[in-house]
């Protein structure tokens, strides 16, 4: 802990050496803060628990997480990689695509790969993609929204026009163009998605919230206390819009997964396997035309995409009740 010097301009005696006064606090401050954070987390959890929608969503997400974690175990210890590999696996004992049989619980795709293995393998990567792009979009969006609201004027105009342009362009066709220019693998794709979302709707929503915070008297009070612009943005505006950012993070996961599935379906992403890719495989081999006959080729992945997005949306709805006290039943 470094001792910070009092400003030399302060000519008045007593401040130079702050007088001793026993505050009567026995624990170090960081410990008290930690306890308070834990307590507020516990309180928020109590509110979240009340929301049936939110809890169902959370349970589904945990189930997906467990399913994704099963993959390294299955491929290393249970399944033969030659047969069950999601990209290059092939089962020589069957005609492909094979409907569900004993060894392949969800059947195989047209080139002999196990559907269940593909689903399991993709789960972890969908998590990665969704979370990464959502975190990027929310961190960048919160910061830009807070800056635009706080400074107003020119800064605001620039970011709002950029947001207009991003929102004006239809999202998926724009990504198709980007995807056809550069073959996107999963990390660059998540980053591009994150930034696109950050500069679009997220900025506008968080700016609107930050504008409400900006005019509160405690912002004036912080300015009178001597806080710089950066201090006010960091210590007052961002913490007060953060709950909303967190809420939108959940909704952004959904957006990222849907975009990935759509682009994979068009086959313009440099991703070897994903839920969207599985539908793409079925489609390119011509099996989507016979709708009900080869259901195992598209139904499992389609169902997973829907359920996964729904689960994040449901958690978002549950968090909404934590963030907006007016929505609570009590």
């Amino acid at each position: 802990m470094t001792e910070l010097a009092t400003s030399p301009d302060m000519g008045r005696g007593p401040e130079k050496q702050l007088p001793r006064f026993d505050p009567g606090i026995t624990e170090p401050i960081w410990k008290i803060r930690w306890k308070m954070n834990m307590r507020s987390l516990a309180q928020n959890w109590e509110i979240f628990k009340e929301s049936r929608v939110g809890m169902s969503g959370l349970i589904i997400i945990i189930a997906f997480g467990a399913f994704g974690l099963l993959w390294p175990i299955m491929i290393n210890f249970v399944w033969d990689p030659l047969i069950y590999h999601p990209v290059v696996g092939f089962d020589p004992m069957l005609m492909h695509p094979s409907p569900p049989v004993a060894g392949h619980l969800l059947g195989t795709d047209p080139i002999g790969r196990d559907i269940l293995a593909q689903l399991m393998f993709s789960t972890g990567r969908e998590f990665l993609l969704g979370m990464l792009s959502a975190v990027i979009s929310v961190v960048v969006g919160t910061f830009i929204g807070a800056m635009a609201a706080y400074y107003g004027g020119f800064t605001d105009t620039i970011f709002m026009r950029v947001a207009d342009i991003v929102m004006l362009f239809p999202f998926v066709p724009l990504l198709v163009v980007i995807g056809s220019m550069i073959r996107l693998s999963i990390f660059p794709f998540a980053i591009i998605l994150g930034f696109l979302e950050a500069f679009g709707g997220i900025t506008v929503i968080l700016k609107a919230q930050a504008l409400q915070v900006k005019v509160r008297p405690y912002i004036d009070a912080a300015r009178v206390a001597g806080g710089s612009d950066l201090h006010i943005i960091r210590a007052h505006i961002i913490p007060n819009v953060l709950p909303l950012s967190f809420l939108y993070m959940m909704f952004n996961v959904t957006a990222a997964i849907v975009s990935e599935a759509t682009l994979s379906f068009f086959g313009i992403l440099n991703i070897d396997m994903s839920w969207g890719m599985m539908i793409h495989t079925a489609e390119t081999a011509g099996y989507l035309f016979d709708f009900g006959k080869f259901w195992w080729l598209w139904a499992p992945s389609g169902f997973f995409i829907t359920l996964f997005c729904a689960a994040f949306y449901m958690v978002g709805r549950g968090l909404d009740e934590v963030v907006n006290p007016r929505l609570r039943k009590r």
């Binding site: 802990m1 470094t2 001792e3 910070l4 010097a5 009092t6 400003s7 301009d9 302060m10 008045r12 007593p14 401040e15 702050l18 007088p19 001793r20 006064f21 026993d22 505050p23 009567g24 606090i25 401050i29 008290i32 803060r33 308070m36 509160r216 008297p217 405690y218 004036d220 009070a221 912080a222 300015r223 009178v224 206390a225 001597g226 806080g227 710089s228 201090h231 210590a235 007052h236 913490p239 007060n240």
Partner: protein, 335 residues
């Protein structure tokens, strides 16, 4: 209420705040195709001084420019023109590195204790914020200082309050926190913007007593903005009455209450209810509503409502403040 002589003696203390020809005009109705816009004269050419250790009350009706004046003194609003000198520093010329020392000298207490404390910060964070942003002391020293201030404003023991959130405190307690935050850096001048108006009457007296005590202990000067004449009389040494951006009367508080000279001040004081049905108080003698502060006519601002207005009031510009009696200034052509 008799005041001790020392509080009325204007000549002893030196001047801490000196405001000269302060103006704040806001453009209104600025449109895309209208280049010439009207100006709202929020504060229109006012001058006053606050002596060291003095409490100057600024009273007036809603929208007369009290708060704008207060905000300009702490530089939350930049004046259109005029000079503000606080403790030998020109407020409007401060920039960059000089801002820190200025912020430690001049503080403000806000009106609404429910809105002036960040709901996501603990009381400790709120009170230590001025120390924090001005880099005063280390964490341990700040902790001691905050605890001391909290005890001083009557939130004792401090350990039970420091790590609570504003929503866990009552209105009076919150305003005490706001006062502690303003005084934690030992300011020499504090702008108090109606700090008791949002409080219950039962709590109000306590906060007012506290402000008086702190003033005596720390030698702070206040600009006390209020619309409540009783509060102004209790707390202030002098009272300045504002009307539509102009100071129309300024004198010692008892003098203003007992012997108001300006017709507006007279009306204001006769409008104060007296809790005794036997006393027949004079009927406030004003006409019409508040005139518009947007591009006002070059005549006395009070002309339209004045009961004693004459031709001179309409023909000549708003009168200057004149010393009508000893240390009693008023702005009226007819005095």
């Amino acid at each position: 209420m008799a005041l001790p002589d020392s509080r009325l003696d204007r000549d002893t203390g030196d001047t801490i705040v000196s405001v000269k020809n302060l103006k704040k005009y806001y453009p209104v109705g600025r449109g895309l195709f209208r280049r010439q816009h009207a100006l709202l004269h929020a504060v229109d050419d006012i001058s006053f001084e606050v002596a060291r250790g003095e409490v100057l009350g600024l009273v007036g009706e809603s929208g007369c420019g009290k708060t704008t004046t207060g905000r300009m003194l702490v530089r939350l609003t930049n004046p259109t023109s005029g000079s503000i000198i606080v403790d030998q520093t020109d407020v409007s010329s401060i920039s960059g590195a000089d801002m820190g020392p200025f912020r430690q000298k001049v503080q403000m207490i806000f009106q609404d204790p429910y809105e002036s404390l960040d709901p996501r910060m603990t009381i400790f964070d709120i009170v230590s914020e001025p120390l924090n942003v001005n880099h005063i002391g280390n964490l341990e020293q700040r902790e001691e200082r905050v605890a001391e201030m909290l005890t001083r404003v009557g939130l004792a023991p401090p350990a039970t309050f420091m790590f609570r959130f504003p929503h866990e405190l009552s209105g009076g307690q919150r305003q005490r926190v706001a006062i502690a935050r303003a005084l934690v850096v030992n300011p020499t001048f504090v702008v108090a913007d109606e700090p008791t108006s949002m409080l219950d009457v039962s709590i109000r007296t306590g906060v007012m007593k506290l402000l008086t005590e702190l003033r005596e202990d720390f030698g702070i000067s206040y600009l006390y903005i209020t619309h409540d004449l009783a509060v102004a009389r209790y707390l202030c040494d002098r009272i300045a009455v504002m009307y539509l951006g102009k100071i129309v009367e300024i004198a010692g508080s008892e003098e203003v209450i007992r012997n108001p000279l300006h017709p507006y001040a007279r009306a204001l004081i006769s409008a104060v209810p007296v809790p005794d049905p036997a006393i027949a108080r004079p009927v406030p003698n004003v006409r019409g509503g508040v005139s518009k502060p947007i591009n006002p006519h070059p005549r006395c601002r009070f002309y339209e409502r004045c009961p004693v207005a004459q031709k001179v009031c309409q023909d000549s510009d708003h009168p200057e403040l004149r010393e009508v009696e000893g240390n009693h200034f008023a702005a009226c052509h007819l005095l």
